[in-house]
Amino acid sequence: MPRQLEGSVAVAETVAACRPDVICAYPISPQTHIVEGLSRIVKTGGLGSCEFLNVESEFGAMSACIGASATGARTYTATASQGLLFMAEALYNASGLGLPIVMTVANRAIGAPINIWNDHSDAMSQRDSGWIQLYAETNQEAADLHVQAFRLAEELSLPVMVCMDGFILTHAYERLEVPTAEQVAAYLPPFEPRQVLDPDEPMMIGAMVGPEAFTEVKYLMHAKQQMALAAIPQLADEFERDFGRRSGGLLRRYRCQDAHTVVLALGSVLGTIEDVIDDMRDEGVAIGAVGLKCFRPYPLDAVRTALAQAERVVVLEKAFAVGAGGIVGQNVRLALSGLRPRVHDVIAGLGGRPITKASLRRLFEQAVDDRLGRGMTFLDLDHDVVARELQRLEAR
């Protein structure tokens, strides 16, 4: 039954349908409506014996999740931006300990300067943390990915973060189907932990590992994440079979058939991109898009296959490595090394700057005409302002 709902509320109801045992909550814009929604569901008895913990910080949130998950509880939290960074130490700890925690990241820019609006710098900053990273294009997909995330996490014993664009998705009201508890129960079996703190079978978790074994432990972490590359498409197929709609997977191609130019992006901007592609296709331009749904593990082979036939690839990303260049762009170049396509890095939407159809149209036309320069292009950059400031810097 479709409903008209706020994205955050849909996520809250979906997470509740997954029947978590412990939810740890610390508020940060723009995730607040998710934890508020879950708090209400738990308090009104909608989740039986689920424990909802109001913790004192994001570091506390992830730490409590670690304790709960290690004790065999299906565990969930949500955060964004500064909160994600504040729990960074705990993120690495959770993945290193192989705990199947699921977390929503309501993507938001990282300060300074403080900025509460959407971009991907938060999740991108933790791309090496050992967490699986999934990116939702729509609120429907955001809700659906949480169901798949719990299944994936618990099957592989790895934590999973579901990324959804802050405000753009979290605070958008749109039409979607919220998975019911019954539907979820058919897809997601009860949590069977690989390791659990239990007086009946004592074990210890979190030993100090020295040089003689550490490398092997990390190698195995990498190998385990790679297993997700096979698991994710399978789980998405099963989801489609059980729920009747396609969500997730490694990536999604849009009108890439015979495309000489392909735009690659993550998250909600894909919707706007698809509108522009439709317009340009109507005018006979062979342009398509690839939406990357799974960023970690990096689906290198799938990206290579999707892009290999193009002449040029425009990577549109909402974060970048200061002092270096595009992050997703680097990863795409890795997949395409030795192959024909030229890769252009376009940085857009930082700190919530809207990415408009008009700007994208101009950008794609430039790309098609090979008028995009080398290095990063910053979409809609105010060149006058930066020129003036650089001049001042140099004058000193």
Partner: protein, 329 residues
């Protein structure tokens, strides 16, 4: 809580828990069926007060909970010397996560147990002064404020010992550490106002707060057992001598802890819901010098010249503590 006054039948000895006592009054350690939760083979220093305190505290908690206990341990000496992969000294379900999050991990464990209806299984969080009083303070306070069902034990050796004896918020004034060296015009640690974790715990009005030392191990056991009989957030702060960090003889661990009590520098007391309920009186008061002299971390107060001014300030602190807690009979 009532504690039986025990008469010492062996002159000159403080040995308790022997055949002359009723079985119920004997130390957990005297029981062959004790859990040995922190068993032998760990890498602690000779004379480590923390290993001693942890053994007594954990075995008492295990007896009180019928062996149904899960421990969350902060990074620090205790964690490092007890779990060198692939070995472990622990004989209970045990997790080490990070330095600053042991209270939060314990909170999570307790929440999971509650969600699963396992109220027969109890939770203990533990860490050193660094992980508790400094970097763990935020999580600790959160755990207190929520009144999570966790017993948290802090083993206070007054410094970051595992990393090489650096100053912590619990390091006493004038003490030498690697980051408050015995050089310059005011050698050793500064004279601040201190940071009393037990008083902070009491300010949260949690069900039970107690201090103890490794000089009176039966007292430590009794307090842990009493705490385990309660639900909600409980805090036990144990002074544990560190021969390496304090520069004391490894055979003097218990003696030095006793001197901390007898000089009034470390008050031994209990509190419930924010009010002090019992205090251990000083049997034979000593001047602070008696405590300071045997520790090299205070050597600069005596050589090359005796710093009577500094010692007087330390004495004034002891006097204030004695006054404040009513430590004299």
């Amino acid at each position: 809580m009532a504690k039986q006054q025990i008469k010492f039948f062996q002159t000159g000895s403080f040995a308790v828990g022997g055949r002359l006592l009723d079985p119920e009054q004997r130390s957990v350690q005297s029981d062959a069926r004790r859990s040995n939760t922190l068993t032998s083979g760990h890498r602690a220093c000779q004379g480590c007060g923390e290993a001693l305190g942890a053994r007594y505290a954990l075995d008492a908690a295990m007896r009180a909970s019928g062996g149904r206990l899960i421990a969350a341990n902060a990074t620090g000496c205790l964690e490092v010397f007890s779990t060198p992969f692939p070995e472990s000294s622990w004989q209970l379900p045990w997790i080490h996560s990070l330095f600053g999050n042991a209270p939060a991990v314990a909170t999570g464990i307790a929440a999971a147990l509650r969600a699963k209806g396992r109220d027969d299984v109890r939770v203990i969080g533990q860490g050193g002064d660094g992980g508790t009083v400094d970097i763990g303070m935020g999580c600790l306070s959160g755990m207190f404020e929520r009144n999570d069902d966790v017993l948290y034990v802090c083993y206070d050796n007054e410094g970051y010992m595992n990393t090489g004896v650096q100053r912590s918020g619990a390091t006493p004034p004038a003490a030498r550490t690697a980051t408050t060296q015995a050089v310059g015009e005011a050698p050793g640690n500064v004279f601040g106002q201190g940071k009393s974790a037990p008083l902070i715990a009491m300010a949260h009005e949690i069900p039970y707060v107690a201090t103890a030392t490794v000089a009176d191990l039966r007292d430590l056991e009794a307090k842990v057992e009493y705490a385990m009989g309660l639900r909600g957030a409980r805090y036990v702060h144990v002074l544990v001598t560190c021969p390496l960090g304090w520069g004391s003889a490894s055979a003097d661990t218990i003696k030095i802890a006793r001197l901390a009590c007898e000089t009034g520098l470390f008050p031994v007391f209990e509190a419930e819901a924010g009010d002090v309920t019992a205090v251990t009186k000083i049997r034979r008061r000593l001047p602070v010098e008696a405590y300071l002299r045997p520790q090299k971390r205070f050597a600069h107060l005596f050589e090359p010249e005796e710093r009577t001014d500094v010692i007087a300030r330390i004495q004034a602190r002891a006097d204030r503590t004695i006054d404040r807690f009513g430590l004299l009979p």
